[in-house]
C-alpha cells in the first residue's frame, strides 16, 4: 500500500473519531437554530446553553459527588488491592492458592447475577441514597488484585528478605519499599478503576434517587431522558460536554497511561 493511501485512510479515521466531539463542543456553543449544521464555526457563539444547564441541574454538585466517589473507590482499590496482591505474591499463608483461585473465579461471575442481590443488600443495610452505597460495592476488584500480584511476583524476594532483616514490618515493606517500585501497575490500576467508576451509570441509577447525591453521568442521563432538557439540543450538548470535559482533560495529560492500562485489560480474557 502506498504511504499516501495509508495517511489518507488514517486521516479519514481521525475525522470519524474526532469530528463528533468537535461538533458537540461547537454545537453546545451555537444558538439553538444553528446546531443542526455540519460546520463547526459560528459567528454567534453563546454560553446560553451552559447557563441553562447550570441553572436547571446541580451539575457542579454532581461533579464533586463523582470526584468523591471515584477517588474513594480508586484509593481503596489501590491500597487494599495492593495489600492482597502482596500477600498473594510474597506471603506464605494457608489457603493462599485457594484464595488466588477464588479471586480468579469471582472475576468470571457475570454481574447480571449479583446486581439485584447487591441492591437488596444496600436496601437491607439502609444505605440507599448514601455515598457509601456508591462506593462500597466497588471498593475492591479481583482484577486489580491479580494485576498487583502479577507485578509483585517479579519483585526480587531478596529485597524483601533484606528489609525484614532490618526489622521492617510487611506494611512498611509494601508501602515504603514496593510501592515506589510499582508505579506502572499502580497507575494502571488507578486509571482503570477511576475510569470505570467515573463512567458507571447503572449502579448509581439503582441506588441513588436523591438529586443532590447523584453522580455526574447519572445526573446528565436523567436530565436527558427525564425531559428536563425540554428537547433543547444546545442544553443536551452542553451537559454532555461538561460531562466529557474532565475525562478528556485527564486523558490529554495521561494519554499514554490510559492506553497502556487498557491494553492490560486484554489479560482479562
Amino acid at each position: 500500500m502506498k504511504t499516501v493511501t495509508k495517511y489518507f485512510l488514517l486521516l479519514i479515521g481521525m475525522v470519524i473519531f474526532a469530528y463528533p466531539f468537535l461538533w458537540m463542543l461547537s454545537g453546545s456553543l451555537k444558538p439553538e437554530l444553528e446546531i443542526g449544521g455540519l460546520g463547526l464555526w459560528s459567528p454567534h457563539f453563546t454560553m446560553a446553553a451552559y447557563k441553562n444547564v447550570l441553572t436547571k441541574i446541580p451539575i457542579i454538585r454532581a461533579f464533586l459527588n463523582s470526584c468523591l466517589v471515584s477517588l474513594s473507590v480508586t484509593a481503596s482499590v489501590v491500597v487494599f488491592g495492593s495489600m492482597v496482591g502482596y500477600a498473594l505474591a510474597k506471603l506464605h499463608f494457608i489457603g493462599r492458592t485457594a484464595l488466588y483461585l477464588l479471586i480468579l473465579f469471582t472475576m468470571m461471575i457475570p454481574f447480571q447475577i449479583t446486581l439485584i442481590p447487591q441492591y437488596v443488600l444496600m436496601v437491607k443495610l439502609g444505605l440507599v441514597d448514601t455515598y457509601l452505597s456508591l462506593i462500597m460495592p466497588t471498593m475492591m476488584s479481583g482484577f486489580s488484585i491479580i494485576l498487583f500480584r502479577q507485578f509483585f511476583m517479579s519483585v526480587p524476594q531478596a529485597l524483601i528478605d533484606a528489609a525484614r532483616l532490618d526489622g521492617c514490618s510487611d506494611l512498611r515493606i509494601l508501602f515504603r519499599l514496593i510501592w515506589p517500585l510499582s508505579r506502572p501497575v499502580i497507575i494502571t490500576v488507578a486509571i482503570l478503576t477511576f475510569m470505570t467508576s467515573w463512567n458507571d451509570v447503572l449502579w448509581p441509577l439503582i441506588v441513588v434517587r436523591n438529586q443532590s447525591l447523584m453522580t455526574m453521568p447519572q445526573l446528565v442521563t436523567i436530565f436527558v431522558i427525564g425531559g428536563q432538557a425540554e428537547a433543547q439540543l444546545g442544553s443536551l450538548l452542553a451537559a454532555a460536554t461538561l460531562l466529557a470535559l474532565p475525562v478528556i482533560i485527564a486523558y490529554a495529560f495521561f494519554q499514554r497511561y490510559f492506553i497502556e492500562s487498557m491494553a492490560s485489560t486484554g489479560l482479562k480474557g
Binding site: S72, V79, G126, V128, D129
Partner: protein
C-alpha cells in the same frame, strides 16, 4: 509510622463519607411541636396549591408544623414511593396516590388504615357519595381518601375546526375521521404534513394508555374496565374497535408518526384535538392564553348509545405507616379535603374534588359560573371509571402499550391480534401473581 499513612487517609476518607449524609430531617426538634412531611404532585399548579395550604396550616397550627416537599420529578411517583417504602423514607402524607398502584403499597404494609379513625365515616359521608367511595376500598378497608378526579375528555381547537370547515364537534369515530380528513394537511407547502387531527406520544409509555386506549375503551364499552371479577376481561369487540380506531388515526396520517419536540403540539396549534383532564385548561391559560378551545366527550363507535363513559384518573391521599403522628396527619388530611380547600383545588389546579355536591353546593356555584368548561368535566364525573385494583396494573398497561405501538403506530398487527396478545401477556402476569 509513614507506612500507615495511606491507610489512615483511606479510613478517614470513608469516615467522612459516612458522616456526610447524616443530614436527614429529624421529626422532633422543639419539644411539643409535631413535624409532618407532605408530598404533593410535582406540577407547578399543585405545588402552588400545596404551598398555599401548608403556609396557612402552619400559621394556624404552631404545634403541628408541616413540611411540603414535591415528589422528585426524575421518576414516576409510583417508582419514588415504592423506593421510599423500601428505604423507609416515606413522608407522612402524600396526595398523589394512583389507585392502580395502591395494591403494592398496602401489600407492603406501607399505608395507614384510615377507617380506624373514629370520624372517618362521617367525614367521608359528608364529601363523597357512598357507592363511589366503595370503589376505593380494599377488602372493606380504606387506605386512601379519594381526593380529585380528572375525567379524560376531548379538547378541540375552535379556530382550527372552523378554518377547516368542521361545523360540529365529532361524536363518533366516523365523524372524527371525517373532521380529521379536513384538518390534517400540509400548510407550508413543503410536502410534509404539519397540522394534525391529534397526536399521542409514540413511545410505549404505560401511563400514556390512561389517556387514549383506556378511556376510549371505557367509553366504547359504556363503563367496562380491564378486569371483571378478578379475571382479565378485555378481549372483546370494544377493545378491538378502540385499537382499530387508533390504527386508522396513524394509518391515515391523522396522527404523526414522529416524536414531537419543542412543546405540546395542541398549544402550538399543530394538532386540533387533545385527550386530557381538566388540569389541561390551566396549562392552556398559562402557556397559550390566546387559544380558543372547547371540550367534548371522547369519540365513541358509530353504533354507540347512551352516555359516554370515560376514565376518571383519580389521585388520592394516603398516610404512610412510617408516620409517628397518625392523628395529626389525619387532621391535616381532613384539612386538605375540607370544602373550602376543595374550592382552592378547583381554583388553583383546575382539578375536580371527589365530592357529591360539586354542582349543588353554593360554595362552588360562583366558580362554575365563571368556568363553564369545568361544568362539562363535573357533569362527566358520574360516568367515570377508575383503575382496576389488580396487582401489576402498571405492567399490564405496559403490555397494552407495546401492542398499541405494534398495532396502532406501526400497523404490524391487526387490532384483534394486538388485543389477543395483550390479553395473553396480561394472563401470564396474573397467573404469576396468583
Amino acid at each position: 509510622m509513614n507506612s500507615v499513612r495511606p491507610y489512615c487517609v483511606c479510613v478517614l476518607l470513608l469516615f467522612f463519607v459516612g458522616c456526610a449524609n447524616k443530614n436527614q430531617t429529624t421529626t422532633e426538634s422543639k419539644a411539643g411541636v409535631v413535624h409532618l412531611t407532605y408530598w404533593p404532585a410535582p406540577n407547578p399548579e399543585e405545588i402552588q396549591l400545596a404551598d398555599t395550604l401548608v403556609r396557612q396550616w402552619n400559621r394556624l397550627h404552631p404545634d403541628i408544623q408541616v413540611l411540603m416537599q414535591p415528589i422528585p420529578v426524575s421518576q414516576s411517583t409510583e417508582e419514588v414511593l415504592l423506593a421510599a417504602i423500601a428505604g423507609k423514607t416515606t413522608p407522612d402524607i402524600c396526595s398523589n396516590i394512583w389507585p392502580g398502584a395502591l395494591h403494592d403499597y398496602t401489600e407492603a404494609g406501607g399505608l395507614v388504615e384510615l377507617n380506624k379513625f373514629p370520624d372517618f365515616d362521617s367525614v367521608m359521608a359528608a364529601r363523597t357519595p357512598h357507592d363511589l367511595l366503595e370503589t376505593f376500598s380494599t377488602d372493606g378497608k380504606y387506605y386512601q381518601v379519594p381526593w380529585k378526579a380528572n375525567p379524560v375528555m376531548m379538547f378541540y381547537n375552535i379556530r382550527m375546526f372552523r378554518e377547516a370547515g368542521v361545523d360540529s364537534v365529532p361524536r363518533t369515530y366516523s365523524q372524527y375521521f371525517a373532521a380529521a380528513k379536513k384538518i390534517t394537511r400540509d400548510t407550508s407547502g413543503d410536502g410534509q404534513i404539519d397540522v394534525w387531527m391529534g397526536e399521542r406520544d409514540i413511545r410505549p409509555l404505560w401511563w400514556q394508555r390512561l389517556f387514549d386506549f383506556y378511556p376510549f375503551y371505557i367509553g366504547a364499552s359504556s363503563g367496562l374496565t380491564l378486569f371483571r371479577n378478578d379475571s382479565v376481561a378485555f378481549e372483546n369487540r370494544y377493545a378491538d374497535e378502540v385499537m382499530g380506531f387508533f390504527q386508522q388515526c396513524y394509518a391515515k396520517q391523522y396522527f404523526p408518526h414522529t416524536f414531537f419536540q419543542g412543546g405540546d403540539p395542541f398549544l402550538l396549534q399543530k394538532k386540533a384535538t387533545n385527550f386530557s383532564g381538566p388540569w389541561f385548561i390551566a396549562t392552556i391559560y398559562k402557556l397559550a392564553p390566546y387559544l380558543r378551545f372547547g371540550v367534548a366527550p371522547l369519540p365513541v363507535p358509530d353504533d354507540h348509545t347512551g352516555p359516554v363513559f370515560t376514565y376518571g384518573n383519580y389521585k388520592n391521599i394516603a398516610i404512610f405507616s412510617t408516620t409517628k403522628h397518625p392523628k395529626e396527619a389525619w387532621q391535616f388530611v381532613k384539612y386538605l379535603i375540607s370544602a373550602q380547600h376543595d374550592l382552592l383545588l378547583l381554583k388553583i389546579a383546575n382539578q375536580l374534588p371527589v365530592r357529591g355536591d360539586l354542582l349543588t353546593n353554593k360554595l362552588f356555584a360562583e366558580y362554575f359560573r365563571e368556568n363553564p368548561l369545568m361544568v362539562k368535566f363535573a357533569e362527566e364525573v358520574p360516568y367515570t371509571r377508575g383503575d382496576d385494583p389488580a396487582p401489576d396494573l402498571k405492567e399490564i398497561l405496559d403490555g397494552i402499550s407495546q401492542e398499541y405501538e405494534a398495532c396502532a403506530v406501526y400497523s404490524k398487527k391487526t387490532p384483534a391480534e394486538a388485543i389477543h396478545d395483550a390479553v395473553k401477556r396480561t394472563k401470564v402476569i396474573v397467573d404469576w401473581n396468583k
